[in-house]
């Protein structure tokens, strides 16, 4: 499932700086994740960067958008075409 940002967001922008997919933007008041660009860091990092950076733990799985690892990887591969991303991540 894609990640979403809850109302607890404090608009600090820590997640925006960390997102490898450039999926996070400042919305009306709080930051918003574009689900079409979120791969939950699959193929890129062993941990989810936005959730790790968030000081208030408001980057959480979106229950409305459950997605398989394969779907997420495919999305990451599309965004980072040519990098040959796989489920194996070497950091």
């Amino acid at each position: 499932m894609a990640t979403m940002i809850t109302d607890d967001c404090i608009s600090c922008g820590a997640c925006e700086d960390e997102c490898p997919n450039d999926a996070i933007r400042l919305g009306d008041d709080i930051f918003v994740i574009d689900p079409e660009r979120c791969s939950e860091c699959v193929g890129l990092h062993a941990t989810q960067k936005c959730a790790e950076a968030c000081p208030v733990e408001c980057c959480v799985p979106d229950p409305e958008r459950r997605e398989t690892e394969e779907v997420l990887l495919e999305r990451a591969q599309r965004i980072h075409a040519g990098r040959g991303l796989t489920l194996e991540v070497n950091e």
């Binding site: 404090i10 608009s11 600090c12 922008g13 000081p55």
Partner: protein
């Protein structure tokens, strides 16, 4: 060395609000800082996300330094803490012998933990009433009015109670940006449960965005609006007749005073439509309980402040909202913490070496030793030990502090110790402050801070302060004397380099200057002493899961002993102010620059300017060196209406000159369609840490600090000597050659 990560609870180091964090440390170095999810006061703002950067920032002050060149030249010699203290103490002793203890001035601002309280304690033992701290130019005017009218102040940080508070009026306050998220969320939670949220502000602030009713008034006219609301409430008989009958004195005088403030006349003054004035007056008076907030905005209006802050008190009183839950509960007295005893205010009042009142007592006696004594007398029956934040009754005006240094008026001030204050940027008329801080008359200036601010650049000694991760902390409001609640957090990391906590400066100076025996060895030991009435040690409290204690105060405390005024009643004609020579029930007065008071000046400077609104990204003048925050808020903004901007040839994002008769500075245009086309808002408190710190640049203060072009003359100040920062005149035009 172990590679294990340990997690400790601690205090966010980034600003003075002292929110709680969870710190993960490896080899004793913090590696990750998040909100403490178990705290009632968790760090949840964008600033806290820079906590790690703040703690080990390359710009931090890490060693005591002594000036090696001229003031402001940027030449420093690193010295030991002991050498610095020895030299400072020697100079202070000499100055006291030659000029008296009052020749020492203390400047504080945004606290680093114990700084303010430890400084007050030192000053009271030393014998100087000249300390200007948190509160001066920060809402003090409002508190003094409340104490004058009903002998108590509203509990700081009061929020509406969901399901109980009917109306919450945020007046001169943007809780969204100025208060913690937790408090702001209370406003939203109450709104969900039916509380009507009203915001009185010239700006459509983030709080106003969420309001049911936004009252957009001309900056500076808050007093006229308050009187207009009183007029409606009294004329229509909507006040609480039982409460007025039983508890208020001077109702007839108040009725007569506000009679001429008809909604029509008030619309003319405030630019608020008659219908809105009627709406807000009726809504507030007919919905109980209702909250009418404290506000900084209406406390910084110069001559217009007096009627604004008194008017708000009268509104709360005659609608029967005083000291009721969901309305305007009074601040509780510090009882679990021996705050008043440990401050030694009584020692200052009768100090054998103190011959004089503070430097502005002759101009603004409501904030003076004389004023404090009178307040104590008026409150004696209800508050025999006085109130917690008694310092607010004492702070002299900054205007007079500089006169005392520059002209010896009313007497010479020869030394200044600045702790956690950036006075050059924070007070009006930065040029005059610069003169004072570089004057030869000032024989000693010590600055203790986290960073080399423009103010620190002008010092003789610069001392490195620990941040809140590196020291023990009690909830900041408890250390200002507010309330009867406290929380204790241990240090989450050892101090880096030679940073020391603020307490140690006062302890060491005290021990060398005749106060030995008064200062426990460590800050924690002093906290133990403060906590004695609660029968718990600091260490024990800090180690508890629930490391705080919040007793619920009782309500309608006046029913037992009356109000803490001379008459025991709510005084709508405050006798305390009368005794000090003030008109006790004033007319609304215009700010000293306004389209009404100075129409000729307004021809040349046609825009009404308000300044200094808060943002979540910066606390006052701090944090401009933190990259993450600067990326999101890189420069000071001038909020201006698109039509006004178009007429002036200004486009979004342009650098703009903002000019007053005192000069001009640059801000970036931010076009906003909600502001009155005749009004602009200029960001305040800016300096650029990345620009050269030495003179003449001083981190760009002359180019970007709005206070450099705001006057501080005595006759423009409010009744407590506070500067007029929020109701001014200016003109704006594009910078032709932006560099």
């Amino acid at each position: 060395m172990s590679n294990q990560t340990v997690t400790r609870r601690g205090t966010c180091p980034v600003c003075g609000l002292g929110c709680h964090v969870e710190v993960s440390a490896r080899d004793d170095m913090p590696v990750r800082i998040k909100k403490d999810p178990h705290s009632f006061h968790p760090a949840t703002c964008p600033r806290s996300a820079s906590a790690l950067d703040y703690h080990d920032h390359p710009g931090r002050l890490n060693h005591p330094m002594k000036r090696a060149g001229r003031r402001g030249e940027g030449k420093w010699q690193q010295i030991s803490w002991e050498q610095a203290i020895d030299e400072i103490a020697e100079k202070l002793g000499r100055i006291r012998d030659a000029h008296g203890p009052e020749a020492v001035l203390i400047l504080g601002g945004s606290v680093h933990g114990a700084s303010d309280a430890a400084a007050w304690r030192w000053c009271n033992l030393w014998g100087t009433p000249n300390y200007i701290h948190q509160g001066k130019n920060c809402g003090e005017a409002e508190d003094l009015a409340e104490w004058s009218v009903y002998g108590d102040i509203g509990a700081p940080g009061t929020t509406p109670i969901p399901g109980l508070t009917k109306v919450a009026i945020m007046w001169g306050l943007n809780a969204h940006s100025s208060w913690t998220k937790m408090l702001w969320d209370q406003f939203l939670a109450a709104k969900e449960r039916g509380t009507k949220l009203v915001v009185v502000d010239p700006r459509r602030s983030e709080s106003a965005e969420k309001a049911d009713l936004w009252v957009r008034l001309r900056p500076g006219t808050d007093g006229a609006l308050a009187y207009g609301m009183l007029n409606v409430i009294i004329e229509e008989g909507l006040y609480d007749k039982d409460f007025v009958e039983r508890w208020c004195e001077g109702f007839d005088e108040l009725t007569a005073r506000v009679k001429s403030y008809t909604p029509e006349k008030v619309e003319e003054i405030t630019w608020v439509p008659v219908a809105t004035i009627l709406d807000v007056a009726r809504l507030y008076a007919t919905s109980k309980p209702s909250l009418l907030s404290w506000g900084l905005g209406n406390s910084l209006l110069g001559k217009a402040t007096y009627s604004a802050v008194l008017g708000k008190c009268f509104l709360r009183a005659i609608t029967g909202n005083l000291d009721v839950p969901g309305g305007h509960p009074f601040d509780d007295m510090p009882k679990q913490i021996a705050f008043r005893e440990e401050m030694h205010w009584d020692r200052l009042l009768d100090h054998p070496l103190r011959k004089r009142d503070n430097v502005s007592a002759h101009l603004w006696p409501v904030a003076s030793v004389r004023g404090l004594k009178l307040f104590r007398k008026a409150m004696a029956k209800v508050h025999p030990k006085g109130v917690g934040p008694a310092s607010y009754m004492l702070y002299p005006s900054a205007t007079s502090a500089w006169s005392a240094i520059l002209d010896g008026d009313p007497y010479p001030v020869k030394a200044a110790i600045t702790q956690g204050s950036n006075g050059l940027v924070a007070f009006a008329n930065s040029r005059r402050i610069h003169q004072a801080m570089t004057s030869e008359n000032l024989e000693l200036h010590v600055v203790m801070d986290h960073f080399m601010t423009p103010t620190a650049q002008l010092a003789d000694y610069v001392m490195p302060a620990t941040d809140a991760l590196e020291r023990v902390t009690i909830l900041p409001s408890a250390l200002w004397g507010f309330g009867n609640a406290y929380a204790a957090t241990a240090a989450a990391a050892d101090p880096l380099y030679q940073r020391r906590d603020d307490y140690q400066l006062w302890r060491d100076l005290g021990n060398r200057l005749g106060q030995s025996g008064y200062w426990p060895d460590t800050l924690e030991q002093w906290f133990d002493r403060l906590l004695e009435p609660s029968d718990v040690s600091f260490e024990e409290l800090a180690s508890r899961d629930v490391n705080w204690l919040f007793p619920t105060p009782s309500e309608k405390r006046y029913e037992e002993k009356g109000f803490a005024t001379f008459s025991g009643k709510v005084e709508l004609v405050p006798s305390l102010l009368e005794k000090l020579g003030y008109p006790p029930l004033p007319d609304y007065e215009e700010p000293s620059w306004s389209p009404v008071s100075t129409p000729e000046l307004a021809e040349e400077y046609p825009l009404v300017m308000t300044t200094g609104a808060s943002s979540r990204y910066y606390y006052r003048s701090h944090q401009r060196m933190l990259e993450k925050l600067r990326r999101r808020y890189p420069s000071p903004l001038l909020q201006i209406h698109p039509e006004t901007a178009r007429d002036l040839g200004i486009a979004e994002g342009d650098w703009v000159w903002v000019e007053t008769p005192m000069g001009r500075i640059k801000e970036k245009a931010r076009l906003v369609d909600w502001i009155d086309p005749r009004v602009v808002h200029a960001d305040a408190l800016w300096w650029f840490p990345e620009q050269p710190g030495e003179v003449p640049s001083l981190n760009g203060v002359w180019d970007h600090t709005i206070n450099a072009i705001i006057p501080d003359d005595a006759d423009r100040n409010d009744y407590a000597g506070d500067h007029c920062l929020r109701a001014l005149l200016c003109r704006a035009y594009p910078v032709q050659d932006p560099k």
